[in-house]
């Protein structure tokens, strides 16, 4: 049996978790799930559509919102009861966190961000992302129960036409006060309007080469194309632009139709965030810059002179 932790946010199912169910089905036909919180009860039957037979729902009146350690405890207790061959979740911040708690509780290894999994008795073999996917590791995991997260989008969520709803088994996990100490107590809006970086169709990104005062034309071009501005870490750590605009391994990962890399050298940690762009145009004074081997098109020259010309040309073309 494979056990999958399926996340939800106050009763809204986490669609990414469905990808972990697909990964589980590739390992065994008996797939069961764990969800946590009373508002998961109504969601649980729907998992049948994706191949889950039974959903174990941990219910405790003290859990009213995301409570990471309690989720780990609940997951660990179901794993201890049923000894699944693997415990999976999607590699989201919550999925990785809950699996790390469960693994710590069970004192078992945890392989995060896997793109391939094969089970084999006491040793599983996985391929997993290091360096945010810039390096792939093949690892042997020594455990009779593999605990692993699957990288978001490595597997597609696949529904099974005509599948029966999942059976729902409610249980109340044994929880200490310490398990409940860390939980969401409030939410505050970030007030961010405009096009979100992660979803933008066009990202106009600037790096050190744009210079502190050089982002005006990038903003104008983003606006003309209905896109948004991004930047490199050099730019955020200099305080030129807010961190919310940083693209890369420790920033946001984007997958736009078009990515402008302006005055950006193309460090692997930056590329980790923009390699899924469909088309990339680089603007750089250095024709040898690493970014040239990732970009589709490039203009060699000073961004300070080139950008205003592009803005003018695009504005004219829009009429």
């Amino acid at each position: 049996m494979i056990l999958v932790y399926v996340d939800h946010d106050r009763g809204t199912l986490d669609e990414l978790s469905l990808q972990a169910i697909t990964a589980a089905r590739g390992l065994d036909s008996d797939v069961q799930a764990v969800m946590v919180g009373a508002d998961a009860v109504a969601l649980a039957p729907r998992l049948g559509e994706f191949g889950v037979g039974t959903v174990h729902v941990a219910v405790d009146p003290r859990i009213t919102d995301y409570t990471p350690m309690a989720c780990g405890r609940a997951l660990a207790s179901v794993a201890q009861q049923f000894h699944p061959a693997a415990v999976l979740a999607v590699g989201s911040p919550r999925g990785n966190e809950v699996l790390a708690h469960a693994a710590a509780i069970l004192d078992e290894p945890f392989a995060a961000e896997c793109t391939e999994i094969s089970l084999g008795g006491d040793v599983a073999t996985v391929t997993r992302n290091r360096w945010a996917g810039n390096v792939l590791e093949t690892a042997r995991v020594h455990a009779s129960m593999l605990i692993a997260s699957v990288t978001a989008h490595a597997f597609a969520a696949e529904s099974i036409p005509g599948a029966a709803p999942a059976a729902v088994v409610e249980f109340s996990p044994e929880l200490t006060e310490a398990d409940l100490a860390v939980r969401v107590i409030d939410r505050v809006g970030s007030g961010g309007g405009g096009v979100s970086l992660a979803e933008a169709k066009v990202v106009v990104s600037g790096g050190r080469g744009v210079g502190e005062g050089g982002f005006g034309p990038l903003e104008e071009l983003a606006e003309l194309l209905g896109g948004t501005v991004g930047c490199s870490r050099v730019v955020t750590s200099a305080g030129w632009r807010p961190h919310a605009e940083q693209v890369g391994q420790t920033g946001t990962k984007v997958a736009p139709e078009l990515y402008f890399a302006i005055g950006i050298s193309g460090a692997t940690q930056h590329i980790a965030g923009c390699k899924n762009a469909k088309t990339m145009i680089a603007i750089n004074t250095d024709p040898e810059a690493t970014i040239m081997s990732y970009a589709d098109y490039a203009i060699v020259g000073d961004a300070g002179q080139i950008m205003p010309a592009i803005v003018d040309a695009v504005r004219a073309a829009k009429g």
Binding site: P93, P109, T250, G266, D296
Partner: protein
């Protein structure tokens, strides 16, 4: 308040990575290669130093790594870390379980009674997403991960975590483990006096024993990449009309 930070030395390449011939390590032999810290850990350290500045106390940096890792401790000493603890290895990789156990042991055994451990949510190289959580369980402390906003008052840490366009708020009593993300603050640059002071600060060393890794690295590979190089569409501003054509071709401009 006395704070421990956990940091890790990692390679930094000016261009693309290459692997060693046996395919088990990133090739760091080229003179162009450097070493650095993860931005998450730079931010963890900045957070600790800021708390020290407002509340007093000390910051101690723990690292499990080769003797050269003391270079990274010195870098952090230049921005306000007071003391380092190097858990020395021979370069063989430790898995997360062993790493967290060794860090927990060193933090517990330390003469300082720490109020918090601040570290990264995930390491730059391994990206295991777990050393902080395991450390918290070993110490019996609460942990908040993915922290993008942090303030401490009256022994309670208020942590914010970004989910979509919202921020989730958590509050935990100290002692606690706090695993941060890049962007929680802007790490300061070292000053010249800071660098000079850093040279005289103490680094203690311990030699923990490595256990067989339960997540055992077999080999590394680089993801397949589209070979090639960009089509140069011009030099300078004269290329602008060609950009408009491309925008039309790919459909981002009507």
């Amino acid at each position: 308040m006395d704070i421990a930070v956990c940091i890790k030395r990692v390679p930094l390449s000016p261009g693309r990575w290459t692997l060693t011939a046996d395919g088990t390590e990133i090739d760091t032999s080229s003179s162009a290669m450097g070493w650095t810290l993860s931005p998450h850990e730079e931010c963890a350290t900045e957070a600790a130093v800021q708390l020290k500045e407002t509340d007093g106390g000390t910051v101690t940096a723990f690292t499990l790594g080769t003797p050269e890792s003391s270079e990274q401790i010195r870098e952090l000493m230049a921005v306000g870390v007071d003391r380092g603890v190097l858990l020395e290895t021979d370069g063989a990789e430790w898995d997360a379980q062993a790493t967290a156990a060794a860090l927990a042991e060193a933090i517990r055994a330390d003469e300082t009674d720490f109020s918090a451990v601040i570290l990264g949510t995930e390491s730059a190289d391994v990206s295991g997403y777990q050393v902080g959580v395991r450390l918290a369980h070993a110490l019996g402390w609460p942990i908040v991960t993915n922290v993008k906003g942090l303030s401490v008052s009256n022994g309670v840490a208020r942590c914010e975590r970004v989910v979509g366009s919202e921020r989730e708020v958590y509050e935990v009593s100290l002692p606690a483990v706090i695993a941060v993300k890049d962007g929680v603050n802007i790490p300061r640059y070292p000053s010249v006096p800071g660098r000079i002071k850093a040279r005289k600060k103490p680094i203690d060393t311990a030699n923990p024993t490595r256990s067989d890794p339960r997540v055992e690295k077999v080999s590394l590979a680089l993801p397949p990449q589209e070979a090639g190089t960009a089509e140069i569409i011009g030099n300078g501003p004269d290329a602008a009309p060609r950009v408009v054509e491309i925008l039309k071709e790919i459909g981002v401009l009507a």
